[in-house]
């Protein structure tokens, strides 16, 4: 039996990964876990909304900010400690982010998620082949 990463209920929040190549015409939407986002190591990062702490760094070193935002997103989403609570809310509410030329929208995973009623039509999941 195959296992689909999306269908497994987990503590990792559900990430809506909205990806568009032609912003006017086609919106390719896919869903992924945060680990997939970490794997994007090449490319540039640009953000759309106000993320003031990273704003000056953005113009100096694109790749550095790239990794900073990605690791920051991973930290705040994985461990939802009390000190990260404000930052966590900022990541959730401050969307959409522009990361590696992709538009990223972050939402919490809800137990009532049903795939036929989802806004996104396509999604990226991890399939695990058991040994």
């Amino acid at each position: 039996m195959l296992e689909y990463g999306l269908l497994l209920p987990g503590i990792i929040p559900h990430i809506l990964y909205l990806l568009f190549r032609k912003p006017q015409t086609c919106w390719r939407a896919c869903t992924t876990f945060m680990s997939l986002l970490i794997d994007f190591t090449v490319g540039f990062c640009r953000k759309m909304c106000n993320f003031t702490s990273f704003q000056p760094l953005f113009y100096s070193s694109k790749l550095y900010v790239n990794m900073a935002i990605v690791s920051y997103l991973r930290c705040t989403l994985n461990k939802q400690s009390s000190k990260n609570c404000a930052l966590h809310g900022k990541v959730i509410t401050g969307e959409p982010w522009m990361i590696f030329y992709h538009c990223l929208a972050v939402t919490h995973w809800s137990p009532e998620f049903s795939s036929p009623d989802a806004k996104v039509k396509r999604t990226v999941v991890w399939v695990r082949f058991p040994t």
Partner: protein
């Protein structure tokens, strides 16, 4: 699945039976974790997922 099948081309071909494969987990390619071989695929949420190959 035997360890001899932990090859990128094979895993991608096997995942293409499910959906369009995107990438293979690096842990499977480096033989670092042997319990599962993870492959990232792009599935359609509107159609039924494949349960067995």
């Amino acid at each position: 699945m035997n360890l001899v099948y932990y090859d990128e081309s094979f895993l991608l071909a096997m995942a293409s039976a499910i959906a369009r494969p995107t990438k293979v987990d690096t842990n499977a390619l480096k033989f670092e974790k042997g319990k599962f071989a993870r492959v990232c695929v792009e599935i359609y949420l509107t159609i039924l997922v494949v349960g067995k190959i």
